[in-house]
C-alpha cells in the first residue's frame, strides 16, 4: 500500500515537470536534427548529461565542433550553479543509501526545486526522491527523442508552453513564502540576482549571483542556525 502511495505522490509531484521537459526536450531534439544529429545522439546526450541549459549550448559545440577545452570550460561555466544545489543537499541526501548516486546525478533545476521541499508525509522518503528524479529523467529523454523524430508535425502551436518551467519555480517560491519558510533567503535570492543581471548582463550573471547570495546568507549564520 505504502509503495503505491509513494509512486502516486512522486508522479503527482513530477507532473508539473512533464509539460516543461517535453517541450524543452522537443526543442532540443529539433535543434539536434537541424544540425544533422539523429535520435541516438539526442538520446545519448539527454541520458548522460541531463541538463537542459548545457544541452542547448551543447548542440552548437557539437556542430562546430568545438575543442575539448572549449567544451569543458563552457560546461563548467554554464553548470557551476549545480555545485550550490549539491552543497545545500549534502545533509538531506545523507541517508539515501543506494539511491544516492542517481539522486545526485539527477539534480536539475526542476528536480532540485521539488526535492529541496518537503516529502509528502505518507510517502517513503528515499523512494519518493528516487522516483521523482527518475520520472523527470524519463520525461527529458522522451521529449528529446520526440522532438528529434517528429518535431515538425506537432499539430498545435506550443508557443509560450515553456512558461511551465517559470511557473514551477514561482509556485514553489510562493508556497515556501506562505509557510514563512526562510523569507530572508527568498528576498536575498531575487534581489541579488536582479542586481547581478543588471551589472553583469544575461550571459554572466548566474555565477556572481550564486557567490554573492551565499556570502550574504553566511552573515550571522550562528544565530540563524540556532533557531
Amino acid at each position: 500500500m505504502e509503495k503505491n502511495k509513494t509512486i502516486k505522490r512522486a508522479f503527482i509531484a513530477s507532473l508539473p515537470v512533464l509539460a516543461g521537459y517535453m517541450v524543452l526536450g522537443i526543442g532540443f531534439g529539433i535543434m539536434m536534427r537541424d544540425k544533422g544529429f539523429g535520435v541516438l545522439w539526442t538520446a545519448a546526450m539527454s541520458l548522460s548529461i541531463f541538463s537542459g541549459t548545457l544541452q542547448y549550448v551543447g548542440v552548437g559545440l557539437l556542430a562546430a565542433p568545438a575543442t575539448m577545452i572549449q567544451t569543458a570550460i563552457t560546461s563548467l561555466i554554464v553548470n557551476a550553479r549545480y555545485m550550490f544545489y549539491s552543497i545545500s543537499m549534502v545533509k538531506k541526501y545523507k541517508g539515501t543509501g543506494k539511491y544516492k548516486p542517481f539522486l545526485i546525478f539527477g539534480l536539475t533545476d526542476e528536480t532540485y526545486t521539488i526535492l529541496s521541499g518537503e516529502t509528502p508525509k505518507d510517502a517513503n522518503e528515499n523512494k519518493y526522491r528516487f522516483l521523482v528524479t527518475t520520472f523527470n529523467h524519463i520525461y527529458w529523454i522522451i521529449g528529446g527523442i520526440t522532438g528529434n523524430l517528429l518535431g515538425q508535425i506537432i499539430p498545435f502551436s506550443t508557443r509560450g508552453i515553456d512558461f511551465s518551467m517559470t511557473a514551477i519555480f514561482i509556485a514553489s517560491f510562493t508556497e515556501e513564502w506562505i509557510k514563512k519558510n526562510n523569507r530572508k533567503g527568498a528576498i536575498i535570492g531575487v534581489v541579488t540576482t536582479l542586481v547581478c543581471l543588471l551589472l553583469f548582463g544575461e550571459k554572466w550573471f548566474l555565477i556572481p549571483s550564486m557567490l554573492i547570495m551565499t556570502l550574504l546568507l553566511s552573515i550571522k549564520p550562528k544565530r540563524e542556525a540556532a533557531k
Binding site: 575539448m68 550553479r81 544516492k100 517560491f173 549571483s209
Partner: protein
C-alpha cells in the same frame, strides 16, 4: 563522429563532477559541518528566487507588450498558489494563461 562522442562525454563528465563534488567533499561518517547544514536550510529559497529571475531575464519591458503576458501570468500563478495551495494546478493554470495571452491576446 568520434570527436562528437568525446565532447558529449566531457559535457556529461563536467556536469556530473559539479553535482558530485560537494557530496564527495563532505562525505563519510563525519558529521556534516554546521555551516553546510545551515546553507542547506537557507540556499534553496534563494536559488528558487534566482531561477525565477533567470527564466524571466529576457522579458522586454520597453517595447510592446511591455512584459504584460509575463506579469499577468506570474501574478496568476502566485494568486492561484496562495488560494488553492496546489502546485500542479498553479503550473498548469499559469502556463495555459500565458499561452492564451501570447497566442490570442498579445499576438
Amino acid at each position: 563522429m568520434k570527436t562528437e562522442a568525446i565532447l558529449i562525454i566531457i559535457m556529461a563528465g563536467v556536469t556530473a563532477l559539479l553535482r558530485f563534488l560537494p557530496f564527495l567533499f563532505f562525505s563519510g561518517k563525519r558529521e556534516t559541518p554546521k555551516y553546510i547544514v545551515y546553507l542547506g536550510e537557507v540556499l534553496p529559497q534563494a536559488i528558487i528566487g534566482m531561477l525565477i529571475v533567470y527564466c524571466l531575464r529576457l522579458t522586454d519591458f520597453t517595447t510592446k507588450p511591455f512584459g504584460l503576458p509575463e506579469i499577468i501570468a506570474v501574478v496568476f500563478v502566485v494568486v492561484l498558489q496562495a488560494v488553492k495551495r496546489n502546485s500542479l494546478l498553479s503550473v498548469l493554470g499559469g502556463t495555459a494563461v500565458y499561452m492564451l495571452l501570447l497566442q490570442l491576446v498579445f499576438k
